[in-house]
Amino acid sequence: MDQPVYRDDFVDIENGTISREIFVNDGIYQKELETVFTRAWLLVGHESQIPNPGDYFTSRMGAESVILCRDFQNNIHVFLNTCTHRGMKVCLYDEGNTQTFTCPFHAWSFTPDGKLVGVPHEHELYSDVLDKSQWSLIEVPKIVNYKGSIWATWDENAPDFFEYLGGAKDHLDMALNALDGSDGGTEVFGGVHKWISPCNWKIPAENFCGDSYHNPSHISVDMIGIGPSAAKGEKGRRDNELADAQHIWISFPGGHGIHSALKPENNAYIESYKDNPIAEEYYRHCYEERQKALGDKARIVPFVGTIFPNMSFHGRQPRALCVWHPNGAGSTEIWRFFLVDKDAPKEVKDLLRRYYMRYSGPAGMTEQDDMENWNYATAGSLGVIARRHPFNYQQSVQKSKLNDPVPGLVSTQMTEENARQYYKCWAAYMNNQDWDRIMDHPVRHA
């Protein structure tokens, strides 16, 4: 009844309108689980969470529980957290180290490489019928360890991760590399934020793909100042090191949307950790190191972005990897892994931890106000009359340029182009289109 099948006119990026149905309709939500989350690359966790053989971290792909673990050959795997015998979860812990995953129901046991190695009374009860090799833990066909971040997809025909990521890679790199530019020099702090937010999962994903227009959401923190220079009187919620930069909004094939910035030629470092001289010194030092290493390329500095469909990152403060797990049409289970330079001094790590906690997550003074809007934007779209009135996505229509000044479909002014392209790609998944059509994008026609 309230679940019409997905219709193409729901996403009309030419006219800049998108139906509210896609954010509230239970039928469309179910279809997303079947068409988007079974095919797209999803972030599962971080290598530094499972340093040793037998280590595991229980994660989530779409609405399903998965186990990220390291086997005794040091290979990393991602398995569906369900016994192949009768479905019991083989792991009810968030993390740990184990020799085998032994099911509490009938004690089938699996090694961390997924193999079914233990079947009680196997000989008497299953001789010449049960082919154990066919009943291993259900494993993702494709997985990648990218600078420590672990990604996986359920679609063996999915493009390889770097092809999938395309030009978005350069920007995600900046989140995963150390501040001084050294390759993948980050780790995640212990402690993963997990909470449930009453909004459709696409709203925060879109929010991070370049919705800079929602600044008014944060007027309260901007008024009082909560950044790393706030104690010295700076207002705003974040360091001001982008003060002299040109913000850029970039869309890429696969629906990824990035918001980065381009510093002026001189590319001067701007003091932005005034509350703490050690941090200030560290940031200045890293900034200069990065410039030495990258030269002119160092002028591009990260901000935020969304890797389709539901992973977002904060490349600058508060540096983090976020996943917006679908949890029903009107509910999202949010996970956030916080990043920091492996080699940063303790003082800097402590300052950042505290800043991250007061900025992000359910106790974050900034994100609390985002979530209030995500919540009631979803609730405000549930009704029969509301669903007759599409959302407006007309911002900066036709204003983006191709590969100028950087690769991608680029806008140098605030735009909803990233969102429009995000939903165009989403629609391709909903229509079960092939990967060519999914990855279709203006930059491909340049």
Binding site: L92, Y93, D94, E95, G96, F189, G190, G191, V192, H193, K194, W195, I196, S197, P198, S217, I219, S220, V221, M223, I224, G225, I226, A230, A231, E333, F338, D350, R353, R354, Y356, M357, R358, G361, P362, A363, M365, Q368, D369, M371, E372, N373, N375
Partner: protein, 184 residues
């Protein structure tokens, strides 16, 4: 029984009554939204800590169940300055997550005086454990229940106390609320 070690004499019970009064008065300030007055109850070197809690296997609890202060990401690891900012934010009337303000009720029970230094008679710092139920109700039908334990270090301040340290154990894993805008 391995109970708190203080002798349960008159001085002890007098101190405990005092402490209970303090905690109830504090709840009253919070629930009546007198946030600035509440801030005055916090020492300048306040530590306000709420770890996240993990599901770990039997025996691993001590080592792995809770996120660690000074090392991990937690729900809160705030100092007084940050708490003041949180209050300041509410007062802007633009803190959407608390606009309109929540209806909040703090129920405190099971108050235990775990320690008193240097002595119960001449107390400088008292360590107090309590249980809390915080009920939050917002807008039309938003409803959240927070239940857990607090361990406070209360510092003698003339006729009353100030809170020098509060460690909050919220009995949840995945947070079952969209936000943590209430004070515990």
């Amino acid at each position: 029984m391995n109970a708190p070690k203080l002798v349960r004499d008159l001085a002890y019970f007098t101190l405990k009554q005092e402490v209970e009064e303090f905690l109830y008065d504090e709840s009253e300030l919070l629930d009546s939204r007198r946030f600035e007055e509440w801030l005055d109850l916090l020492t300048d070197d306040l530590v306000y800590f709420m770890p996240m809690r993990r599901n770990v296997k039997h025996g691993d609890q001590a080592a792995r169940e809770n996120t660690k202060e000074g090392e991990d990401i937690s729900w809160f690891e705030d100092d007084k300055w940050t708490m003041a900012k949180r209050v300041e934010q509410i007062m802007t009337a633009k803190h959407w997550a608390e606009e309109p303000l929540s209806r909040v009720c703090h129920m405190v029970s099971n108050v235990q005086v775990l320690d008193a230094q240097p002595s119960v008679e001449a107390v400088e710092t008292v360590t107090v454990k309590s249980r809390f139920l915080v009920y939050q109700n917002r807008v039309e039908t938003e409803n959240y229940l927070f239940v857990g334990k607090r361990t406070d270090a209360l510092r003698r301040d003339g006729g009353s106390f100030k809170i020098a340290r509060r460690e909050i154990i919220l009995d949840q894993n995945v947070l079952l609320a969209k936000n943590l805008t209430v004070f515990f």
